[in-house]
Symmetry: C2
Subunit: 217 residues, 2 copies
């Protein structure tokens, strides 16, 4: 059975999944990129996002890599796709990632504002879903054709799917930084009550990696 | 200069410093003791709390031990002293720890209800402070006579002293458990704005240890 996974989701020590004031200059909010120090040095990040051939190969790389394994479709909240709010002024914004985004599969973007699908180089196709989280998941499952669906974020999108009990497994990476303010991933979410428990932890110098899974999964 | 420290404060992955429904049976709230698995196997815990001579000696022990080094006085919120709420019905409750508590120095208990000081075996003296957090800290500093003051908790007490910028250093131990509900240590506290940053992390199998310090400290 295909699974729904959250992967490589970075959290600060104080529980924030993103900083405040997301903008074109700060896609992850102010200080948000501090969260991802464990990730940006890895071979997977260097290869998938920067198309470089170098990068680290230790524990951080192991976790970075698993995030892309057996993924048939992604779901992103609109703010992960870009800084544009409200109706799309035009179709010029094509994501943060340039001509060839690192997904290489269909990506379903949750938005209240319809827009034609957008095929990018390398197999990524952005679909803009206005029917809500359930519709996005149904379409992503179908597009994934038996592979897993990865929920990319942000925090609000992950919470929606947690509360719908749709997520089978989460990999969180707790980074040794304090954000102080921002969006708390688990605000108002009782993971224990939803049936999750911690099945693995492993720490590198740059992050403590945690795998949470649902009982029975 | 004597410092004010939080030591061995355990947090769940979802940020809770104690479970819900503290009671005589569950001094740390429901499931709260899961938080302290890293601590209860250590030589320090076995020796200080259970007066046994065994226990582990690895990284967890290193952090358990430092929590008792150079401490001249403690401050506890009332709920850490016991489950009694409101006015003291009598003076029979003498803490969770039996005749000889593991403090061996003066301990200042924050309460709204006056009560005579209570001298225990082994040098622990409980003083009940009704004048608030500032008064407790002033008295603890004086009693510590140049050594450090340890803020034992709970979460509410630590937040009070954080917001007063009174705490120099915090050791948090993030345990691989989900509590789902309870008291969030950092609710409404912006550690970054208060000047804290992470100066060390180290992980054992049972916890990720984190040291936070104030800038300039």
């Amino acid at each position: 059975m295909a699974r729904v996974r959250v992967e490589s989701f970075s959290l600060s020590l104080d529980g924030f999944g993103a900083g405040v004031d997301q903008s074109l200059q700060n896609p992850l909010g102010v200080h948000g990129s501090d969260l991802h120090q464990w990730f940006i040095g890895t071979r997977t990040f260097r290869r998938m996002v920067l198309r470089q051939q170098d990068g680290s190969t230790g524990l951080d790389e192991e976790f970075a890599q698993r995030g892309f394994q057996n993924i048939g479709a992604w779901i992103l909240g609109r703010n992960m796709f870009g800084p544009v709010r409200g109706a799309w002024p035009d179709e010029s914004w094509k994501g943060w990632w340039g001509d060839e985004p690192p997904y290489h599969v269909p990506v379903f973007v949750l938005t209240h504002h319809a827009r034609p699908s957008l095929a990018m180089k390398g197999g990524t196709v952005f679909h803009f879903v206005t029917g809500g989280a359930d519709e996005a998941l149904a379409r992503a499952r179908e597009a994934a054709a038996g592979k897993d669906v990865r929920i990319g974020g942000g925090p609000h999108t992950i919470r929606q799917y947690l509360q719908a009990k749709a997520i089978d497994e989460l990999h969180l990476a707790i980074s040794p930084v304090l954000l102080g303010a921002g969006e708390r991933l688990l605000e108002g979410v009782n993971l224990r009550e939803l049936g999750y428990h911690c099945v693995r932890t492993a720490a590198s110098e740059k992050a403590t990696h945690v795998i949470l899974a649902k009982e029975g999964d």
